[in-house]
Amino acid sequence: MSDPQPLSKSELDGSFSELYRTHLRDVYSYAYYRVGNHHDAEDLTEQTFLQAYRHYERALCESDGRPLRPWLIRIAHNLAANYYRDRARRPESAIEDAAVISAPHTTETLVEGREELEQILAGVQKLPDDRREALIMRFALGMDNREIARALGRSDGATKVLLHRAIKQLEGIVGENGSGPAAEVTPR
């Protein structure tokens, strides 16, 4: 069987626009929960899509028809790692704490049980990076194990274990801090 014909520039642009509209919220959510503030989340989202645009044609060829969301999230993941590295060099601009993350645009919907949710979010911030990211992908973005595995560059089995351990550790953290206010959590 012959290879499929490459897409024209205009077809590629159209296809990328669709990808962008479909996954803008996913990338933004991921960025927001990673960096903890809207300003940097916007920058990270923009950079993610610009980088994706540059490599889109190749990614499309190599995806072999599989969804491209893990690829996009992987780009955001790598850019977020650079963000943390840059922040480490510039300690005067400290990362905002979990209490900020717990007040996104949808705050109105989170009034009930807010304190408990803040404790959970504060606990998420205390997790090791890989566990925290896996939880963000699963619960904020609704990605399945296979997608998360592709985004993190791990096997499906390793991802399942990672998620399980992340939830168990988080349960432990929230259980320990249950009586204390979330805002006391030390910023990362």
Partner: protein, 115 residues
């Protein structure tokens, strides 16, 4: 609290976050600018490269790709015959003339109302 209940609360805590309303528009504008910038750079490269006839096929291809799929086909076809034209050409100028003629013929063939 069971693990299932905990997961439900985790899901409630980690709700998807809607991007600011102006972000899609801003991002689309940036992408359009990026495309235009790429086109401008291509154009500048094209002008400088036109001095060397060996590069004539590439700017022609790049320009046509920007114009759309139908015209991209012209370049693909013309480029596929590049080796044969080179063999038939007496010199570089002859090769350039043959390339331009081939491009024009191919474009005429694909244009509505063409042969």
């Amino acid at each position: 609290m069971s693990t299932t209940e905990f997961e439900a609360r985790l899901r409630a805590a980690l709700q998807p976050v809607e991007p600011p309303e102006d972000l899609p528009l801003r991002l689309e504008r940036t992408l359009v600018e990026l495309r235009e910038l790429a086109a401008d750079e291509l154009e500048a490269w094209e002008l400088s490269a036109m001095r060397d006839p060996r590069n004539w096929a590439r700017p022609a291809a790049a320009a046509v790709v920007g114009a759309g799929a139908g015209t991209a086909l012209v370049v693909l076809r013309v480029r596929s015959r590049h080796r044969r034209r080179r063999a038939q050409s007496a010199n570089v100028l002859d090769l350039a003339e043959r390339t331009v003629r081939d491009l024009a013929d191919e474009a005429r063939r694909l244009l509505p109302g063409g042969d």
